[in-house]
C-alpha cells in the first residue's frame, strides 16, 4: 500500500514535471531553428533533425532596420517599471492592509471587509475595461507614453494584490504584538515600523513576488498606453508577431523574458524551505 502510494506519487510528479518543462524544451529547440526547420516538418533535436542557427537570438539585439527587435532597452524599462510600481504598491498596500487588519472603520454601511473587497475587486476588471479610460486619463495629466504613467497604472493593478496578501498576513500576526509595542511607548507609527514591519518580511516577500509577477506579465496596458518613448518587453516581443511569425525569435524572447523571474522563484522557494513564509500565505 505504502509502496504503491510512493510509486504513484513519483509517477505523478514526474509526469507533471514533463508537462511543465515540455513547452520550454520546445521553445529552446525552436529558438535555434529557421523558417525551413519550422515549416516543412516537425523537428526536435539540433544537428540531428535540423541545422541550428543563432538567428532567432540575434534578432533580439539587432536593430529593426536589419530585421531585429532590439529588446535591450525595453527589457530594462520593464524591470524598472515593474520594480518601482511593485515597491509603491507594497508600501501603500501594506499600510492600508495594516489599517484594515488592526483598526475598525465605519462609514455608513461600509465596514473593514467592504473596504478590503473594494481593493481586491479592482482585480475583477479586465484590462480592456480600463484601457481606454486610462488612455484618456493619462493623456489629460500628460503621462501618456511615459514610465511614470505606466507606473501609475500598474499601481492600480498591483496594490490590490499587496492589500490582499498583507491583510491576510497581518491577521495572522497577533495584534497583542503591536499592543505591546504601544504599551512600551511606541506611537502607532513607531509600533508599525519598529515592531510590525520587521516581523512581516515573509509576507512582504510573497506580496512583492506576486506584484512583480503580475507587473512583469502585463501586456495590455503597456500596449495601449505607450507609443515611441517607452516600450516594455511584452509589447516589444509581441510586435515580433508579423504576418510571417518568426517562431524562432519568439521562442528566444519567451525564454529571455522568463529568466529574471526564475530568480524570484528561487528566492520564494528558499523562504518556503526555511518555513519563514508559512505565516505569509493564507
Amino acid at each position: 500500500m505504502h509502496k504503491l502510494y510512493t510509486f504513484l506519487k513519483y509517477t505523478f510528479i514526474t509526469l507533471w514535471t514533463v508537462f511543465i518543462v515540455a513547452p520550454f524544451l520546445w521553445a529552446i529547440s525552436t529558438s535555434f531553428k529557421d523558417f525551413q526547420s519550422v515549416n516543412s516538418k516537425v523537428t526536435y533535436i539540433p544537428w540531428l533533425d535540423f541545422e541550428p542557427t543563432l538567428e532567432g537570438w540575434r534578432v533580439l539585439v539587432k536593430s529593426p532596420a536589419r530585421g531585429g527587435v532590439d529588446i535591450v532597452e525595453p527589457y530594462f524599462n520593464s524591470i524598472f517599471v515593474t520594480c518601482t510600481a511593485s515597491l509603491i504598491s507594497i508600501i501603500l498596500g501594506t499600510l492600508a492592509a495594516y489599517a484594515l487588519s488592526r483598526f475598525t472603520f465605519k462609514a455608513g454601511f461600509v465596514r473593514n471587509n467592504d473596504i478590503t473587497f473594494f481593493f481586491i475587486s479592482q482585480r475583477i476588471m479586465p484590462p480592456i475595461v480600463l484601457s481606454i479610460p486610462f488612455f484618456i486619463f493619462l493623456s489629460t495629466i500628460g503621462l501618456l507614453d511615459s514610465l511614470l504613467g505606466l507606473i501609475v497604472v500598474y499601481i492600480v493593478l498591483l496594490m490590490p494584490i499587496a492589500v490582499w496578501i498583507m491583510v491576510d498576513f497581518f491577521n495572522r500576526v497577533p495584534k497583542e504584538l503591536d499592543e505591546t509595542a504601544l504599551i512600551d511607548g511606541c506611537n502607532p507609527y513607531q509600533a508599525f515600523y519598529k515592531v510590525v514591519l520587521p516581523n512581516s518580511i515573509p509576507g512582504l516577500i510573497v506580496a512583492g513576488m506576486f506584484c512583480i509577477i503580475f507587473g512583469w506579465i502585463d501586456f495590455f496596458f503597456a500596449f495601449i498606453l505607450t507609443f515611441t518613448e517607452v516600450q516594455l518587453l511584452p509589447v516589444k516581443v509581441v510586435a515580433l508577431n508579423s504576418s510571417i511569425t518568426p517562431w524562432w525569435s519568439l521562442s528566444a524572447s519567451a525564454l529571455i523574458s522568463v529568466a529574471p523571474l526564475i530568480i524570484v522563484a528561487f528566492v520564494v522557494e528558499r523562504y518556503l524551505s526555511k518555513g519563514n513564509l508559512s505565516g505569509a500565505l493564507k
Binding site: 502510494y5 505523478f12 510528479i13 511543465i20 518543462v21 513547452p23 520546445w26 525552436t30 516537425v42 501603500l92 499600510l95 492600508a96 489599517a99 483598526f103 475598525t104 473596504i115 481593493f119 481586491i120 475583477i124 476588471m125 479586465p126 484590462p127 480592456i128 475595461v129 480600463l130 481606454i132 479610460p133 486610462f134 484618456i136 489629460t140 497604472v153 499601481i155 492600480v156 503591536d178 499592543e179 502607532p188 508599525f192 509577477i213 512583469w216 506579465i217 518587453l233 511584452p234 516581443v237 517562431w247 519568439l250 521562442s251 524572447s253 519567451a254 523574458s257 523571474l261 526564475i262 522563484a265 520564494v268 518556503l272 524551505s273 513564509l277 508559512s278 505569509a280 500565505l281 493564507k282
Partner: protein, 288 residues
C-alpha cells in the same frame, strides 16, 4: 484599537486607488450611455439604448459569458485539485524537494501573451510536436485548435499549465503553516492517510482554499491573452470569452460606447456572482 492614526495608514493607499480609478469608472459609465464609435467619436447621450441592445439583441455576449464561466470554473477546479495534490506531495520529505518546488513555480512567471505563442506552435496540428509524437504511436492528428470542443480544452490545458503554480504556492505555504498538534493526535489515533486528509488536513486548509479559489476565479475570469493568441476566439466563436468579446467590440470594431456597456454590465455581474460564490464556498467547506 482605535486611534485617529488609522486614517494615516489607510488613506494613502485608498485615495491613490480611488484617485486613479474614479475617472475611469465614471468615464466608463458615461461612455456606456453614448454611441461613441469609429465614425461618430462623440460623447453624445443615447440613454440606455446600448443596454437594450445588450439585453435583447446580443446573444454572442451571453454565450461568451457562459463559455467564460465554464472555462474559468473548470480551470480553477483543475488547478485546485492538481495544485493541492502537488503541494501535498512536496510538503513532506521527498527526493529533490527543492528542485521540484522551483520547477512547479516557474510557469506562472511566464508572460501569458508570449508563452501562448509557444503553446500555439506546440499544438500546431500539422507542424507541432504533440500531434507528431502522437502520430508515431498511431494516433490520428488531434484538432487541438480547430475543433470547437477540443479547442476549449486546449485553452484549459494552457491555463492550467500557467496558473496551477499559483494554487500550488498558496496551498503549499498553507500546509507548511499548519499547526502540528492535530496531526499528532491523528497519528496517535492511527488514522489512515486518507482519513487524515479528510478529517484533519482538508478542514484545516479550508479557509486558505477558499481564499485561493476566489482569487484564482477573479484572475481566471479575465482570461483573454491565452484565447487571443491561441485561437482568436475560434473556431467560429467556440472559445470567445467575455473580455475577449469586449476587446473585439472595443478595440477591433471600435464601438466604444457599446464596449463600455458590456464592460460595466460584466463588472456588475462578476462582483455579484463572486460574492455569491464566496458565500457558497464558505458554507460548503467550513463546517460550523
Amino acid at each position: 484599537m482605535n486611534f485617529k492614526h488609522k486614517f494615516v495608514f489607510l488613506f494613502p493607499g485608498l485615495f491613490v486607488l480611488i484617485g486613479i480609478l474614479i475617472f475611469p469608472i465614471i468615464f466608463t459609465i458615461r461612455l456606456s450611455l453614448s454611441g461613441w464609435n469609429s465614425y461618430t467619436p462623440e460623447m453624445n447621450f443615447i440613454g440606455i439604448t446600448n443596454y437594450i441592445r445588450l439585453f435583447t439583441d446580443d446573444p454572442r455576449f451571453w454565450e461568451s459569458f457562459f463559455r467564460l464561466s465554464f472555462l474559468s470554473v473548470t480551470t480553477v477546479i483543475l488547478q485546485y485539485v492538481i495544485g493541492f495534490a502537488l503541494a501535498l506531495m512536496v510538503w513532506r520529505e521527498i527526493k529533490f524537494k527543492r528542485f521540484f518546488r522551483v520547477i512547479f513555480l516557474i510557469p506562472m512567471m511566464t508572460t501569458p501573451v508570449i508563452m501562448t505563442v509557444i503553446w500555439r506552435t506546440f499544438f500546431h496540428e500539422s507542424l507541432g510536436p504533440v500531434n507528431d509524437l502522437l502520430g508515431n504511436i498511431g494516433v490520428k492528428p488531434i484538432l487541438w485548435l480547430s475543433d470547437p470542443v477540443i479547442a476549449k480544452f486546449t485553452v484549459i490545458i494552457v491555463e492550467v499549465w500557467q496558473w496551477t503554480p499559483f494554487m500550488f504556492l498558496l496551498l503549499l505555504a498553507g500546509l507548511l503553516s499548519l499547526p502540528k498538534e492535530p496531526f499528532l493526535a491523528a497519528a496517535i489515533d492511527g488514522a489512515s492517510p486518507f482519513r487524515k486528509f479528510v478529517y484533519v488536513t482538508f478542514p484545516l486548509m479550508a479557509p486558505i482554499s477558499i481564499g485561493a479559489i476566489i482569487i484564482r476565479l477573479i484572475e481566471a475570469s479575465k482570461i483573454m491573452d491565452t484565447v487571443f493568441v491561441l485561437t482568436s476566439g475560434g473556431p467560429g466563436t467556440a472559445t470567445e470569452t467575455s473580455s475577449f468579446y469586449i476587446y473585439i467590440k472595443g478595440l477591433r470594431e471600435f464601438q466604444m460606447g457599446y464596449a463600455a456597456t458590456l464592460s460595466f454590465t460584466y463588472l456588475v455581474i462578476m462582483i455579484i456572482s463572486l460574492t455569491i460564490i464566496a458565500k457558497v464556498l464558505t458554507k460548503l467547506m467550513i463546517k460550523e
